[in-house]
C-alpha cells in the first residue's frame, strides 16, 4: 500500500527495523535508507522503509497550504 500511513521506528538490528503504525507492528527492511534511527518516522512500502519523514505531523499540510496556495 502506498497509502500515507507513516510508521515509527521502534527498533533496529542487522535484520531490519520494527516499525509501528497505530499499534500495528511489522519487521521491515531498512536497507533502502541511510542512517535510520529508533524514533524516526518512515513511509513503508512492500516491506521496506522507502522514505524518512520530516515529521509525523500531517498537520503541516496546513502550513504547506499557506505556502503553496
Amino acid at each position: 500500500m502506498c497509502v500515507g500511513l507513516s510508521a515509527k521506528v521502534l527498533k533496529l538490528d542487522n535484520d531490519g527495523a520494527i516499525v509501528e503504525s497505530m499499534g500495528a507492528k511489522r519487521k521491515i527492511s531498512a536497507d533502502l535508507l541511510e542512517d535510520l534511527e529508533p524514533g524516526d518516522y518512515v513511509m513503508v512500502h512492500a516491506g521496506a522503509a522507502i522514505a524518512k519523514i520530516t515529521s509525523d505531523d500531517i498537520e503541516e499540510t496546513d502550513e504547506l497550504f499557506n505556502e503553496l496556495f
Binding site: 502506498c2 500515507g4 512500502h45 512492500a46 522507502i50 522514505a51 520530516t54 499540510t61 504547506l64 497550504f65
Partner: protein
C-alpha cells in the same frame, strides 16, 4: 485550510483543467474520499496508467499460471490473484490445486522459500519504482543467504517514459509521491522545463486536496487566469512553461533515495515492456541483469513465450490514456464488472474502471 481548498475546488470557474493521476493509490483514495464529487465541472481527473496491476499484460498472468501448473509455488501481492489471463486467473489456478500464496512483501516470499526448500518459489515482481527496490532486496538477500529455490517473474515498470508518452493527455500530472520518494524530483523539474507540468502529491485526504488545488491554480495561471481574471500576456508568457510543485515535501526530497536507486541499478537494467492497453514502450521497465539469471524465473524455468492479447473489446488503453471515461467503454458494468473483470482496469481496487464502478 482544508476547507478553503475544498471551497476553491468546488467553486472553481476558470478554464477547463485536466489532471491525470498516475498512481493507483491516488486513484483509489480519490474515489474513496469522494474527492471527484467535490470538484467543479471545470476540473477533470483522468486515471492514468498508475496501477501496476492494470498495466500488467495478459501474457504475464499466463506465465504465472503456467508456473503454477508446473507445481511452482507462486507468491504474489493480493492484487494479482483475480487478474484475468487469457484463460483464467491465479484464483482459478488455486481452485485447481495450484499453490498461490499472497505475501506482504517480496522479502516474505524469499523467507518462505528459505523455509520450504522442497518447493520452488517464484515471486510475481510487479510495480513501479517504489516497489522495485524491495524486489531487488529479496534477490540480494536470497544470494547472501544461499537460497536457490527463489526467483522473480518480473514485470517491473518505470514511470518516466510513460510521462512522455502521455504528456499531451492533460494539463498537469499528479505525480505519485512514493515513486518520487525513490527517484527524486529531477525528472519533474526536467519535464517542467520541457513544458510538462505536474505536482507531487501525498496520499491523505488533505494532501490530495492540497495537491489538486495547487495543480488547478497553477494550470489556470499557465492558461493566463489568476483569480478568475484572464490575462493574455500571462497566457503568452506561460505558453511553453511547465510548472512543478512538490506538495509532499515531508516525504519527497529532490534527491530521492540514492541508496535505493543504486541497489536497483546494480541488479537490474532497463527493458522494453508491454503496458496493457498502451502497448510496447521502450525502456519502460526493469529486468534482472544477465548475471543474476539464476533468479530470473523466465530463464530458470525456461518459460515458453506467451503472446496472448487482452479482450479486443476492452478499452483499458483509452481509459488509461484519458481518452475515454470507464463508463464510455461499452463493456463497462455489463460484461465487465469486478466479479467478472474483462480488462485489468476492472480488477484491482486501484484500477480506474473498478474504482469508477465501485464508487458510482
Amino acid at each position: 485550510m482544508l476547507n478553503e481548498a475544498i471551497e476553491y475546488l468546488k467553486s472553481y470557474d476558470g478554464p477547463q483543467i485536466n489532471i491525470m493521476e498516475v498512481c493507483g493509490t491516488h486513484t483509489h483514495e480519490i474515489f474513496r474520499k469522494g474527492i471527484r464529487k467535490i470538484l467543479s465541472p471545470k476540473i477533470k481527473l483522468i486515471s492514468g496508467p498508475g496501477c501496476p496491476v492494470c498495466v500488467t499484460p495478459v501474457s504475464f498472468i499466463d506465465e504465472a499460471r503456467y508456473l503454477a501448473e508446473q507445481g511452482v509455488t507462486i507468491c504474489t501481492f493480493g492484487d494479482l490473484v483475480r487478474v484475468p489471463g487469457s484463460d483464467g486467473s491465479l484464483a482459478d489456478s488455486r481452485a485447481a490445486g495450484g499453490k498461490i500464496k499472497v505475501c506482504y512483501s517480496p522479502m516474505d516470499a524469499m523467507e518462505y522459500a528459505k523455509e520450504h526448500t522442497d518447493e520452488e518459489v517464484v515471486f510475481l515482481s510487479v510495480g513501479f519504482e517504489t516497489t522495485t527496490p524491495s524486489d531487488v532486496l529479496s534477490v540480494k538477500t536470497a544470494m547472501d543467504e544461499g537460497v536457490s529455490n527463489f526467483s522473480l517473474l518480473t514485470a517491473n515498470k518505470t514511470m518516466p517514459n510513460a510521462y512522455l508518452v502521455l504528456k499531451d493527455s492533460m494539463d498537469c500530472y499528479l505525480y505519485p509521491g512514493h515513486v518520487h520518494a525513490i527517484i527524486g524530483t529531477g525528472i519533474c523539474e526536467e519535464l517542467a522545463a520541457n513544458g510538462v507540468s505536474g505536482v507531487v502529491a501525498g496520499f491523505t485526504d488533505k494532501e490530495l486536496v492540497l495537491a489538486i488545488a495547487v495543480a488547478v491554480k497553477n494550470a489556470a495561471k499557465r492558461k493566463g487566469y489568476v483569480d478568475g481574471v484572464y490575462s493574455e500576456d500571462l497566457a503568452k508568457e506561460n505558453e511553453n512553461k511547465g510548472f512543478f510543485v512538490n506538495c509532499y515535501p515531508r516525504v519527497v526530497k529532490a534527491e530521492g533515495s540514492p541508496k535505493a536507486v543504486k541497489l536497483v541499478d546494480e541488479f537490474m537494467e532497463p527493458s522494453d515492456e508491454i503496458w496493457r492497453g498502451i502497448g510496447l514502450l521502450e525502456k519502460s521497465g526493469m529486468k534482472l541483469k544477465e548475471k543474476y539469471k539464476a533468479y530470473d524465473a523466465r530463464v530458470k524455468y525456461n518459460i515458453p513465450a506467451f503472446t496472448a492479447q487482452g479482450n479486443k473489446g476492452c478499452r483499458c488503453g483509452d481509459v488509461l490514456q484519458g481518452k475515454i471515461l470507464p463508463s464510455d467503454c461499452p463493456l463497462f458494468g455489463k460484461a465487465c464488472n469486478p466479479d467478472h473483470p474483462v480488462g485489468a482496469c476492472m480488477v484491482s481496487d486501484e484500477g480506474a474502471c473498478s474504482a469508477f464502478y465501485m464508487y458510482n
